[in-house]
């Protein structure tokens, strides 16, 4: 139905083409997943279909884009609006109107549909996406999952042939992500819509994908059955990783298939990990209450962050995670309660300080925070300048931040512009700028957004090293697999209150929506693929000898 034929795209510099002779066909009622490492051109490939590339990006496009055997490559995006619906990475930035109903109608108004048709389709779309009760709501007042569904609905109402989605679930909590994906599968099955989507967190979408288009890295693609393509892909979800390493065939893509394979293979029983000795907390919050107007965002919350451990903070979109981080850091005003940070990392039980009572420049030495939009911290032209400014401000010896950066993300050219770095490299730079002040407590807000598996692995290693040096680390994240890999303890927040806290194994094992894939396959108390594989090899080694 929609076909890319020998598409080559490159910017007009010497960096070489981003896409090289790409052939891709999406059939009616098919969901095709676009996978690959960060920066290999997933968004570029998606942008070619609605025509945003090259019109909004510059560069030269060769090749052809066909819809039902008719070339549309020379049409601007607006003339393809009735054929291709496109939802970008940040749906809020694409909203034109301000209420749900008007946003759903906007595309149809542009196409000049009859008012009666528009009225009917708006109602259909509201029902199809389950957002009928939100019809008169302000778009900016919705939660992330609701906004994403409105964005999908607003392009669906036009009845396009193909829906193109760039990371539709990256900002969503596990439950909201499942909602959006379930909606998509329903559309593919019931309405016969075709979907082309890119996603970093493959574990969420792989079970739904009919075929996968893997961007190899040199601009070419490999298209085929998902299981076939993932057999050799550099980025795979934990489920496929486990299957590959245990030699399962056929490669399982869903938890159900993997369970069946696990029963055949026989996996060892869950490990009994002795509870780690609890160390005294470096940061302690008691009865912490934060209010927005007359509404409590956090209500009498108690929290202790032990030194030498990574604590994960989980919970729905809007549960108060970011607010908690800012309140612990001291910038967000408390309504009531206390926050106390150990004045000396070597002596956590000694005298304490209240970060809110400190001046901003002293605060950064006590509690480091990497906010959700980490790039807000950067303002200079080169990486070297950023590092120098951070050294100077923190009173650290010249080169301290650069050395930190080198240890986290080796090999960054110091003359590059921070905006040109990959997501993972930019996060490392911000982390270096924050860590150069040597705060005993480090808080991170959704750091895994936009990171692929290798970049997440690098971040996990960095956090592990920080904890090893005695820092107390708190990571707010929706990414269950990342939490399973990195955290020692988990705190779950709901509606501004702590509903669960404890060692990562206990907390993740208890909750169906927060359980990592490995736990769903091999049983509770398993967290990572590495553990299972190691235990499996050990038991087989013993059996063999």
């Amino acid at each position: 139905m929609i076909e890319l034929r020998d598409v080559t795209f490159g910017y007009d510099d010497e960096s070489g083409p981003v896409l090289r002779s790409v052939d891709l066909e999406v059939d009616e009622g098919e969901l095709v997943l676009v996978a690959g490492r960060t920066g290999v051109g997933k968004s570029t490939l998606l942008g070619v279909v609605p025509g945003l590339v090259p019109r909004f990006t510059g560069g030269t496009l060769r090749g052809d884009v066909l819809v039902d055997e008719v070339s549309v490559v020379d049409l601007p995006p607006r003339e393809r609006a009735h054929l291709v619906g496109y939802v970008g990475q940040n749906p809020v930035a694409g909203f034109v109107t301000d209420t749900v109903e008007e946003e759903l109608a906007y595309g149809m108004e542009q196409l000049g549909l009859a008012p009666a048709t528009m009225r009917r389709r708006v109602e259909e779309t509201l029902d199809l996406l389950g957002i009928a009760d939100l019809r008169a709501r302000d778009l900016r007042a919705l939660s992330g999952g609701q906004q994403q569904r409105v964005a999908i609905g607003s392009v669906l109402a036009v009845h396009p042939r193909l829906l193109v989605l760039d990371e539709p679930t990256s900002a969503l909590d596990p439950t909201a992500a499942e909602e959006v994906l379930a909606t998509l599968t329903r559309l593919v099955h019931d309405v016969g819509l075709s979907v082309l989507l890119a996603e970093h967190r493959l574990e969420r979408v792989v079970p739904f994908a009919d075929r996968t288009c893997l961007l190899v890295g040199d601009g070419t693609v490999r298209v085929g059955e998902t299981a076939e393509v993932l057999r050799t892909a550099p980025v795979v979800p934990p489920i496929v990783d486990l299957g590959r390493r245990l030699g399962w065939d056929p490669l399982p893509l869903s938890v159900r298939e993997a369970r069946r394979a696990a029963r055949r293979t026989g996996l060892p029983a869950a490990p009994r990990v002795p509870a780690a000795a609890t160390r005294p907390p470096v940061l302690r919050a008691e009865a912490l209450t934060v209010a927005h107007g007359r509404r409590a965002v956090l209500r009498e919350l108690d929290l202790a962050l032990p030194g030498g451990a990574v604590t994960a903070l989980m919970g729905r979109n809007g549960a108060g995670k970011s607010t908690l981080l800012w309140a612990l850091q001291g910038s967000r005003k408390r309504y009531a309660g206390t926050v106390a940070v150990a004045a000396d990392l070597a002596d956590p039980t000694g005298p304490t300080l209240d970060p809110a009572a400190l001046a901003a420049d002293d605060r950064v030495r006590r509690v480091g925070l990497v906010p959700q939009t980490a790039a807000d911290l950067l303002y200079l032209e080169t990486v070297a300048q950023e590092c120098a400014a951070a050294d100077d401000g923190a009173g650290a010896p010249p080169g301290a931040s650069a050395a930190l950066l080198e240890s986290m993300a080796p090999g960054i050219d110091p003359e590059r512009h921070p905006r040109d770095l990959s997501e993972g490299q930019r996060l490392a730079l911000v982390l270096a700028v924050v860590l150069v002040a040597e705060p005993p407590v480090v808080l991170l807000d959704e750091p895994t957004r936009g990171l692929d598996y290798p970049a997440k692995e690098a971040l996990a290693a960095t956090l592990g090293r920080l904890a090893g040096a005695g820092h107390a680390v708190l990571v707010a994240s929706h990414d269950v697999e990342f939490v399973a890999r990195v955290a020692d303890r988990v705190v779950v927040l709901a509606d501004g209150e702590v509903v669960s806290s404890g060692p990562v194994r206990d907390v993740l094992a208890e909750s169906p929506s927060f359980a990592p894939q490995v736990a769903k396959i091999a049983g509770e108390r398993w967290l990572t693929v590495d553990e299972v594989v190691a235990a499996h090899e050990q038991s087989h080694g013993q059996a063999g000898s």
Partner: protein, 386 residues
């Protein structure tokens, strides 16, 4: 047929143009008189209607700001009359010491005798301006500014959308500045002489980068959804319509100049204005007919809209008639207490007819209800012993 007429009064959003016409009528009435009683009466009518008919949307909450602005206007006006009032008027209320000024600023007098004429003149003037400002505030609170833009003729649709986007930019920029300032405080501030300069730059660079990125993604979003489709118009048709509109605009401009400048030749005045208006309408009609765009649920114009509009016009006409028949009531003397007659009292009260407008629909659009608005699947977790 009463039940049919009643339907129009069930809760809904009134056509924004009706509210603007009403508010402009009241503002015009306020500008025609300096009687403080009449001004206060207009303000009271406006406040009452706003309180009873405004919706729960964020733009409705700005009305309080307009009221505060009105008070500030009155106070500044009176203050400056006292400060540099000069010695006009005869009824001295208070003798203040005059601050001597050098010879070369003769004509300006600071403090000195405070006369009743100066104080009352400032008060009446300030009240008039404040009332006009409050009327504009009422229109802003009652009518959704974006809906007003959306009710423009189809030919001006593109301009309207651009304006809607522009209206959205300011709050977004403010939010970005707040976010970046908070983020910049998370890294140690650079020291040294140029600290102040860098602190501006530290906020400006990320905010501008963010704004640029946002506007690009908004443009991309609008384009992929069909904004600016040619809609089957040929190039020639578009040129004709555009040319007509431009010529019309020029004609209107010349005509207005002719009307206002009494020394200009008379054929430049009303005839030119008429020709310009006709051309502009022809242009709007020419492009409007061919626009391949439709509108979702356009705001209807029913009898309450007419009533509200007429109420505004009636107040203006009423106060104008008062000025004609009872000039002393409309422009009271600064030496005697202002007068009020039954007719003058009735004129602003006609504005209360706007209460016949239907009440706004109940909405829950409060932007700070973010978290409790998320009906995601409940995650049930039990407390775990650490």
């Amino acid at each position: 047929m009463t039940w049919r007429a009643g339907v129009a009064r069930l809760p809904r959003e009134l056509h924004p143009l009706a509210w603007w016409a009403w508010a402009v009528g009241l503002a015009a009435a306020a500008s025609l008189t300096s009687n403080p009683y009449l001004q206060l009466l207009v303000v009271a009518v406006v406040c009452l209607v706003v309180l009873l008919r405004r919706s729960a949307h964020p733009w409705s909450r700005v009305f309080g700001l307009y009221l505060a602005l009105g008070v500030v206007i009155v106070l500044t006006r009176v203050f400056f009359r006292v400060l540099v009032g000069g010695a006009y008027g005869t009824e001295v209320l208070l003798m203040l010491p005059e601050i001597p000024l050098p010879e070369w600023v003769r004509g300006i007098q600071i403090l000195g005798p405070v006369t009743q004429e100066a104080v009352l003149g400032g008060l009446y003037d300030g009240l008039r301006l404040a009332t006009i400002v409050i009327c504009v505030g009422a229109a802003n609170a009652l009518a959704n500014p974006k809906r007003l833009l959306a009710s423009m003729p189809a030919a001006l649709y593109e301009v309207g959308t651009a304006l809607v986007v522009a209206v959205n930019v300011m709050p977004q920029l403010a939010a970005a500045v707040r976010r970046v300032r908070a983020a910049q405080r998370l890294r140690p501030a650079p020291r040294g002489r140029r600290r102040r300069l860098t602190s501006v730059r530290r906020v400006l660079v990320p905010v501008l980068e963010d704004a640029l990125e946002r506007s690009l993604s908004l443009a991309a979003g609008m384009d992929t959804r069909g904004y600016g489709r040619s809609g089957g118009q040929t190039r020639r048709q578009r040129w004709t319509a555009g040319g007509l509109q431009l010529a019309g605009l020029a004609g209107i401009a010349v005509g207005v100049y002719g009307v206002l400048d009494l020394t200009a030749p008379r054929w430049l005045a009303l005839p030119m204005l008429a020709v310009g208006t006709a051309l502009a309408f022809a242009g709007i009609a020419a492009s409007g007919r061919r626009v391949g765009r439709t509108r979702y649920r356009p705001a209807p114009w029913r009898w309450p809209e007419t009533v509200v509009t007429l109420a505004g016009v009636a107040v203006a006409v009423g106060v104008w008639l008062v000025g004609r028949s009872e000039p002393l009531v409309a422009q009271p003397s600064l030496l005697a207490p202002p007068l009020l007659t039954l007719g003058a009292l009735a004129a602003p009260l006609v504005g209360l007819a706007a209460l016949l407008a239907p009440p706004p629909p109940q909405t829950d659009a409060r932007p700070d209800d973010r978290s409790d608005a998320a009906p995601h699947g409940r995650v049930e977790l039990e407390e775990v012993d650490a």
